[in-house]
């Protein structure tokens, strides 16, 4: 140090810059080498590919990516396409219903499971097993159950209930509810597990205090426990929400977008245009819109989680 102090200023500057470079590349060298896959994934895939997609969504790419800028043309065409507009309407309708119902049913079931019931683990096993299955399996089973002639509708009609109607899968107005039934079947158990973990995390003495205060159980859940579970709720919304935006396999297996185009979703639009229709620009613009919708969910969450922590 004493030596450095007697050196001319510029020399001190170079030596400290060398220290900086040394720190950047050689310090913990094996750790950095080991982290190369992660760094590459982050930089090339998550950042690089996303930027690439956004960039090329403003070009006139058709069969192959082209570097011809067309501004918002792709987006104008996107929102001029009936199929896309149906896709986003479906996503909004399905998404809001699915989110609300998954959360409510998940919470309700978690509360029931939290009542010191017998056979708790059996009930849990039953509710969660669909989550272990592929969306393809889920879609195909429900497709079969909702088969208008041989499925549940046909069965009950054969049994004498001739007015029974459960033709949602072939009814353009009801097909979203068919998706909903299958989607809930797969996802509610997972939400229940999250909520139950949240409920179990509540200090037992809070419950005792509420009992001494004479608060009815339902009121304790609503006024005390639910507000305490904010973290779990937010996490559940983010996970379920980003799952909804991705919705693809289930639609492919259950309805393949039909009848007609009445159950199309954005993820399917992207895939079909990129790999089926040979219209990459459309696919890229549509996927950029998907990214935007995830951002709409994520940014408030990130703000709450990380911005909030900074301020406290």
């Amino acid at each position: 140090m004493a030596d450095v102090a007697t050196q001319p200023g510029n020399m001190a500057g170079t030596s400290s810059r060398r220290g900086f470079l040394h720190r950047l590349f050689l310090h913990n060298l094996s750790a950095k080498v080991a982290a190369i896959p992660m760094i590459a994934t982050v930089l090339v895939i998550f950042v690089g590919c996303t930027v690439w997609t956004i960039y090329y969504s403003f070009t006139s790419s058709k069969l192959l990516p082209k570097n011809t800028f067309v501004g918002f043309d792709q987006y104008a065409r996107l929102f001029g396409t009936n199929r896309w507009n149906i896709s986003i309407t479906n996503l909004l309708l399905y998404g809001s219903m699915s989110l609300v119902l998954t959360l409510t049913l998940g919470f309700l079931l978690a509360v029931l499971m939290d009542q010191k019931i017998r056979f708790e683990s059996a009930f849990r096993t039953i509710m969660l097993y669909p989550f272990a299955l592929s969306f393809i399996v889920t879609g195909l089973v429900w497709q079969w159950i909702m088969n208008p002639t041989l499925g549940l509708q046909g069965t009950l009609r054969n049994m004498g209930w001739t007015g029974f109607t459960f033709d949602w899968i072939s009814n353009p107005r009801m097909v979203l509810f068919a998706l909903l039934i299958a989607g809930l079947w797969q996802g509610v158990g997972f939400c229940m597990i999250l909520m139950l973990a949240g409920l179990r995390g509540v200090d037992e003495e809070i419950w005792k205090a509420a009992r001494v205060d004479g608060i009815p159980t339902w009121r304790t859940y609503i006024s005390v426990v639910l507000p305490m579970m904010r973290g779990v709720l937010v996490t559940a919304v983010v996970i379920i929400g980003s799952g909804i935006v991705r919705l693809y396999d289930l639609v492919v297996a259950l309805t393949n977008g039909g009848p007609g185009i009445s159950s199309e979703v954005p993820a399917k639009y992207v895939y079909d245009y990129m790999f089926g229709g040979g219209n990459i620009g459309q696919g890229l613009a549509a996927s950029t819109m998907m990214l935007l919708s995830v951002m709409i969910i994520m940014i408030p969450w990130a703000y709450l989680e990380f911005g909030g922590k900074g301020r406290r």
């Binding site: 003495e205 009992r211 001494v212 205060d213 006024s223 005390v224 507000p227």
Partner: protein, 360 residues
């Protein structure tokens, strides 16, 4: 006068595990009772039974003369303060205090006056609009006490209320609880594992072990006349010195042959001649040097370790071949290796039956 809280023949089992066994306890109106014992002794369980948070297996509980064995906690006339404070985190202090009253449908004016009174007593008026997350541990515990206070009940239950606080705050709040008791004159039942809290706060202490009350008495009796070896060893820090031996008439013979006169001891039970016994003497009752001169028992001893504690000094030596601690003023210069005379008067000590471990 009927007791404020009366526990009759109470037992509690979790499956095959007996947590409380045939427990009886009468607590007078306005009394401050401390349930003291190590963790797992059943003291918190007993408190939860009194509160109605646990169902008893056998027996009855009376509060203010009413049989409340089957009543819900809110109907028992109790307020409770918990170790973790158990404040409702999303509600302001004011809402925390008033929540139970609002749910019970009490008129707004009455709620307001009760909250104001509790806030005044506990001096938490400036905190009323804050959330629990923005309070210190001591403030949270005051709010928790306030929540019991607004219920305007006869019996306060405290479940280790100071255990989550640091030492300084603990002693401050201890004084405040005592002040609160003097002002309100409610019956208070207080669970702790801290003997200082017990000794300073209690009118009577119930020392528990394995679900059984070992001794129920005022702090002075508990400290000076422990009813058995367990209580003697549990209370006091550093703990009582024990010397094993036999007792024969007016003489106690230690295992190494040292004879200690015990003629002055006030026997509760006269032991059989030659019975095995344990002699117990508190560190501060062992006197040193000149002070030891007048004592019925004296011996020469070599100081082994000296621990200066500021106001006093703890010293380790051997009496009758057994390691013994004693306490003396820090003014007396003591060093390891010093040869000193120590002595004590058995009248201030205790004798226990070696077999039954009960006080003789």
């Amino acid at each position: 006068m009927q007791p404020s809280v009366s526990i009759k023949d109470l037992s509690l089992n979790f499956g095959n595990v007996k947590v409380l066994e045939h427990l009886n306890l009468d607590i007078a109106q306005g009394e401050f009772i401390v349930l003291l014992g190590p963790s797992g002794c059943g003291k918190s369980t007993l408190l939860n039974c009194i509160a109605g948070l646990l169902d008893v297996s056998e027996g009855q509980i009376f509060i203010s003369g009413k049989n409340v064995t089957w009543e819900e906690p809110k109907d028992r006339g109790i307020g409770m303060v918990f170790q973790s404070y158990a404040l409702y985190p999303q509600m302001s202090v004011e809402k925390n205090l008033s929540f139970g009253l609002r749910v019970a449908g009490m008129p707004k004016a009455e709620i307001a006056s009760r909250v104001a009174r509790a806030a005044e007593i506990l001096q938490i008026q400036p905190l009323l609009n804050r959330k629990p997350a923005n309070l210190s541990g001591g403030q949270r515990q005051r709010v928790a006490i306030g929540r019991a206070l607004v219920r305007d009940v006869d019996v306060f239950l405290f479940d280790e209320p100071l255990s989550n606080l640091d030492a300084k705050l603990r002693s401050d709040l201890r004084v405040e609880i005592k002040r609160l008791h003097q002002r309100l004159k409610n019956t208070m039942i207080y669970v702790t594992h801290d003997q200082i809290e017990a000794l300073t706060l209690a009118d009577r202490i119930a020392i528990m072990k394995n679900g059984v009350i070992q001794q129920l008495a005022d702090p002075h009796t508990i400290y000076n006349k422990p009813t058995n070896l367990y209580v003697a060893g549990f209370i006091g820090s550093p703990s009582m010195n024990f010397i094993k031996g036999t007792v024969d008439g007016g003489t106690f013979t230690a295992e190494d042959g040292t004879k200690i006169p015990v003629g002055a001891y006030d026997f509760a039970v006269q032991p059989a001649s030659g019975a095995k016994a344990v002699l117990g003497v508190r560190p501060e009752h062992i006197l040193l040097g000149d002070a030891a001169q007048g004592m019925p028992f004296q011996t020469q001893a070599e100081i082994e370790i000296v621990e200066p504690m500021g106001s006093e000094t703890l010293a380790w030596t051997k009496v009758a071949g057994i390691p013994v601690t004693f306490r003396c003023s820090s003014d007396i210069p003591l060093h390891a290796g010093d040869k000193v005379t120590v002595g004590f008067d058995i009248a201030r000590g205790s004798l226990f039956d070696a077999q039954s471990e009960n006080r003789l």
